[in-house]
Symmetry: D2
Subunit: 346 residues, 4 copies
């Protein structure tokens, strides 16, 4: 039985980790870390866990935690994981970081987009970018897994095979992303109030959102060239779900079957990536509560572009689900253990 | 492995049965019945099951079905189950009926409230009202289980211990119930359109809703007297969830501890009924996607009334979850098998 | 042209006052008061007013304000209006208070339910309870109008004629109320976050909500006896709208026509109260954005109760709209001036 | 007083026409046409108009209607207006067509995208495309106004000045549009049910939506060249609102001030187009219920693209509001008469 500690267990991603791990056969949460709710019963913070979790929230002492657990999930603001980690700790425990601290290999880019000094850049190199379907083998031996962002997971997986096979012009890639509101976190801020979000839509972080360099770096590896994308996230009045609509010019004429074959080549055996049939379009509701990413596409001969679409649950495949998938890989468990979550509809 | 057939598998309750049974260790769905979608892939009707269910929809031939399965769930309009069932079939298969056909013992009352002739009244007596926490022992030997309605489950369980112990005046019981919209079913009707329901609230079926006699009959058994309640359902803009607020005059002065002791007496060992702590109030979100009923109460000394509140997910404990719980009881399986569903938040 | 000042203009009720007054022929807002946003452009706080309002927010100096305006609306937390008002000010300016400070005649009851000391009780007597349809004549001469609460307006108007005519047993009156979330205000608090409210329902303030004594006092005047009601508010995932479902035992057998005649007697000529036809049920959406209250009822011969239902927009008839209606009465303008707001659907 | 007839008055756009015209000083609706609800009271179809509209619904006899009214609004399915109009009628009455029948000048393109034969192509030439801010002068003399589509109005107005001034490469224009659900109409179809739309997002009509050629034709006139755009509409769980996010490569380096100057040149004096300040982003909520279009933009030097964003209420500026604006122009009334609708928030 793997002993799990969570730092930041009272955010939405932390709560989702708990939901998933409660049904995980080989893992047990022994440390519910939360700076804001120390000594309060966890089930008082998230009443859905009433009668299911008896623990009280504890602090964020990573050194102490490392003595007690096998793996630490950090679902915390940017910079915190980097400030806590060190070689002593890494000798004792695996770290799966849901923040951005170890996602971007170029520390200068991290510091520029996040406006933070990175205080433990020495671990960036060894950290593995935890996009399971792309970096599966590397994750297996990792001490630090940088769990990808929600927008990023959806954006990259949707375009990855076409980038890898070089059939789209990467300079034309435009990613228009829409997200439910849980991605904004549980902070008590005016823009997140019900009456501000409900019956409303808006773009935000236009041409400046922090997930941009992460997408560019990973798709750059796939394409074998430097990539610059336009990435625009939007806030939509719903709890969960990310939908990306990606536009790119085709380098040459291709048929739908050819494109499908490329997707099949990379994802045909992937349990958590569902390639939709011809003409089918992903909807976020069909993956809600699950670890699936649904992907579809449409070739537009009029504009010689392809429109790629992907949908996932930002708290599952976009955060906690992928984190557990990474844990399973790191510890040599069946990759889908604890993740046989059937999407809930309606 | 129990072989399962579902008649009416493409309604919302049918879809929820599938979601739950896919993770049930001892049951396997072998017949996806649907009058409207015969020969269509089930996963095309509910895309959440894409890659999880390969079956196509079949008809509603109960005789044929009885040859192939161990249990039939009927998630169908009123009157259909009654019209299909007969002694031959009952010798071969168990029936768990999610419609109202066998819930009400007095056939005249059924026919009056439902405006239907009951075509197989001979089975009403043997049918067991499948409110698991109340009729557990009787369910174990049943051939027909009448799975309670969603409003009814919530309304009855919330008041049952106090009715049983006689501390409330049953003639004063008023049940104000609020439901999400999935309870209205998947029929393409104007009042169920998004723009009609969203940002809107209304009562319906005032003083005439069909769940009324079911509540009255069951609470009458508990109280040992004839019961007449005011029951008013309301439609609320959300997918899932029922909340009941019940008002009754106290027969004598009681303390909160005394009331709590009564609830504990009946529900203290029940896994799926969660008695909230002092001053805590149920919220539908805390049980979403799960088989739990959360119950709280408040004594109002000013009016000498008690306000009892209960919340459940209408598609789970209010329909498919309770149906599976009944199946587990009927077949001697662990009662919670397949129902360890952690509520999803947010 | 009446010069208007608003203290608390940046709350939701304040914003609604602005929306309404911008189309009022005889009134002009000259002071946008807001403690939190002093010196910020009002249209930056509420972007809907971009190009429509150029003013910047100002403080809450009521003495200075009284020099500049003819009427002050206070849309502020409890206690503030009482702390600012004095005889000097009342000689210069009319006050329409949207808080509870002057609603309850018995200062002890106010202090008990609100947990506040009332610092200007000397003005309570002269303040007129601004329920226009009930107290129209008194409002016309008032210096201070206590604008009723949103729940209160709906609760009282729905039962008033039957209480007045004595056909219901006031000791049995139960008011189950449901509200959209704008009633909770624009404070950045966790329970008001989108993901906490959306897809969720709950009761709150059970047997203790502050609007209770206001309802009891006013219905007590109508009934000519002391009244104790059970009042339970609920939070529903929508922006605007209050729906009340009220239950009372009938003192004697009455027909629907008799009840209708009573409602007609009191409301037949009221522009803003719409008595629905036989069997029709109010829905909040049909009054959204308008100053209407829609009222319907159903007699239940089985339980000898009547179920009364009322719906209004909590920010209009429940706050800003009624406040403007009061202003019109106070200044001798046509009562509906600025309030010809057609409900918006969908 | 202008006499108005509405054909298709019981759809959502028809209902919005009624809402707006009820407060229009110089117009009066005398014919509520509705194929589905003939002889039913209009206020029974849309209860928001209870006590405001006493009329019953009438049929769609355009010849008879032409005798009685000065202007006919057709808010009907594609093809109907074209099938009803003729020279006799046009001699007697003005027609403002909210369908697509007269929007596209090239009848072959209309027939291809709409899959319909156009039965009165002889009137296409004289019909004026009713985008008021662009074609104001031509509208004034028109007998037939082709009222633009909701997506189209938003898409065109957001890019128009930059297309006209030639600073963006029109071959790179990508329009990612998101809409509330009222745009799908009031038809009782499964995909429009509350539980299918709520908590869900999806693209639809990918690379094939019928508004595409309308956008291309109008932006082609502006740019003076043939234009091919990628246009992808999305369905979002909200009642009203369209948001477009448009991406285009800049032909040369420009500053924000230069772009702003271009927008000011075309829209500086337009009442209903609000150019947001530097860095401000449109949100649909800020225009809800009003005739405004809010427009913002951001230059992205990294990708040498500009991201343009526009928001409007699909039922107002995207349908009924613009139709009334067209009526005002046609009849020489003040352009904003009846349209001083203050956006409603929240």
């Amino acid at each position: 039985m793997i002993k799990v500690g969570i730092i930041g267990s009272t955010g939405y991603a932390g709560g989702e980790l708990v939901r998933i791990l409660l049904n995980h056969k080989d893992a047990e949460i022994v440390w519910y870390g939360s700076r804001s709710y120390i000594d309060r019963k966890y089930a008082d913070v998230y009443r859905n866990f009433f009668t299911l979790v008896d623990d009280v929230c504890m602090g964020e002492n990573m050194a102490e935690l490392a003595e007690q657990v096998d793996v630490i999930f950090t679902a915390t603001p940017q910079g915190l994981c980097a400030s806590l980690v060190n070689e002593e700790i890494l000798k004792k425990v695996k770290i799966i970081d849901l923040s951005a601290d170890f996602r971007i290999k170029d520390v200068a880019i991290y510091e520029k987009w996040y406006g933070l000094e990175h205080v433990s850049p020495e671990f960036i190199d060894e950290a593995v970018y935890g996009l399971c379907e792309v970096n599966r083998e590397d994750i297996k031996g990792a001490r630090i897994v940088a769990n990808p962002g929600c927008y990023t997971t959806c954006s990259i997986l949707t375009a990855y095979p076409l980038a890898k096979e070089g059939i789209i012009d990467m300079n034309t890639l435009i990613i228009d992303a829409k997200s439910g509101t849980s991605g904004a976190g549980r902070g008590a801020k005016l823009p997140n109030l019900y009456c501000e979000v409900n019956e409303n839509m808006k773009a935000y972080g236009v041409a400046s959102h922090r997930h941009t360099p992460e997408i560019e770096e990973q798709l750059g590896y796939a394409a074998g060239e430097e990539v610059r994308v336009s990435f625009t996230p939007h806030l939509v009045p719903m709890n969960r779900g990310i939908l990306v609509t990606e536009y790119a010019s085709l380098k040459k004429e291709v048929t739908e079957e050819e494109v499908r074959a490329i997707y099949e080549k990379y994802y045909g055996d992937e349990k958590f990536i569902r390639l939709l049939g011809a003409g089918e379009i992903p909807e976020t509701k069909w993956v809600e509560g699950s670890n699936y990413v649904d992907i579809g596409f449409k070739i537009d001969p009029r504009t010689k572009r392809i429109i790629m679409m992907g949908a996932l649950d930002n708290l599952v495949k976009g955060a906690a689900g992928q984190a557990v998938q990474n844990m399973n890989l790191v510890f040599g468990l069946p990759e889908a253990e604890g993740l046989e979550l059937v999407p809930m509809f309606p």
